[in-house]
Amino acid sequence: MNILDLVQVKNDKSYRQFGIFDGMRGVVVDKNDTTEIDVLFFNPAKIGEYVVAKISRDDLIVEKEELPQKAKQEILSQLDWIIKNAHAEFSQNKFKAYDNVQLVNDDKYKQYGLAVGDVGTVVDDVVVKDCVLVQFDNAKPDEDGFVDCISVNINDLIKASKIDIS
């Protein structure tokens, strides 16, 4: 196994505390010794968040795919920084798909015709740059009469009960 090899975990029992599950893919970032290897895993529910976990060599399969050469060079040049900034474990998302959420800060969303108290529905589970995708039925339609879902910062939302939308 070599540094920056792409690997797949084939046993999740020992790694659940990190949020690492069977079948998850990661990148080898160090070779500690012959039995355990440092592997970087990205949080599937939050773009950019990652952990570096020690995984037993016996619990890893090396994938046939490789990172592109240019990406390898870029990662290697910043590997120390990457490892230093790893999270200890994956954080839990505040919201999941189909949660009803209420806007508590409308500063960035007035342009969509939204105000504090408006209730929408989270469209998917993934958080990108601290934002979730939300559909607000009462948002201002565009020139085509279309109301698109918008990215909303998780700190501008609280969970709303179903009663709030009726």
Binding site: L6, R25, G26, V27, F42, P44, I47, G48, Y50, E65, L67, P68, K70, A71, E74, I75, Q78, I82, A97, Y98, T121, V123, D124, V126, V128, K129, C131, L133, Q135, D137, P141, D142, D144, G145, F146, V147, D148, C149, I150, S151, K162, I165, S166
Partner: protein, 191 residues
Amino acid sequence: MAIFNNIILAADDDNIIYNEWIEWNHFGIPNKPEWLRIILRNFYALFGHCLICTALDGCYFVTRIMPELPQHKNCHCKKLYIGFEKVKHNAKAACDIEKFTKYAFIDSNKKKLFNSWGYSSVEDAFYLQREYCKQAISQYVKGNYKLKNLDNRGQRLAIPTCLGSKWFYSGWMLCPEGKLKNATPFGGWIK
């Protein structure tokens, strides 16, 4: 003869529209497998690459309806011209059943609408799932879509959808290689 491959009957009024297709290309991100694409998008996000551009990578557009290129200063993205056959072959649509069972049939405003059309059961949800996907692909490959919000998650499209005799827009996330993922079952009436 290849030039004729891109001519598509796009409109109900029998107008012929020339669709020239491109694939958005940001260097260093393969379209497949998806897990590798996600790993690379994450690394590039750490290194400060534009998340909008890495989300657009691999997406197919007709040249008359595509996001602005370049997206920003020092944008290295390119458009690669592709044939209609490739789009037609690869385009697929996915719509979670929960879009109906946990949203359209639950949310107070949408519930009224879908119930008034006679849709409320799980069986209806499965029918709508199939119908939405079929119609979304059909409209998209004709170039019948409108660009909507573009952000770090990617490009949303409004696609004309018809249930009964009612025409409206449904909202979709455009993913690489012509993959469409439903975001919202009802985005508004077509004017």
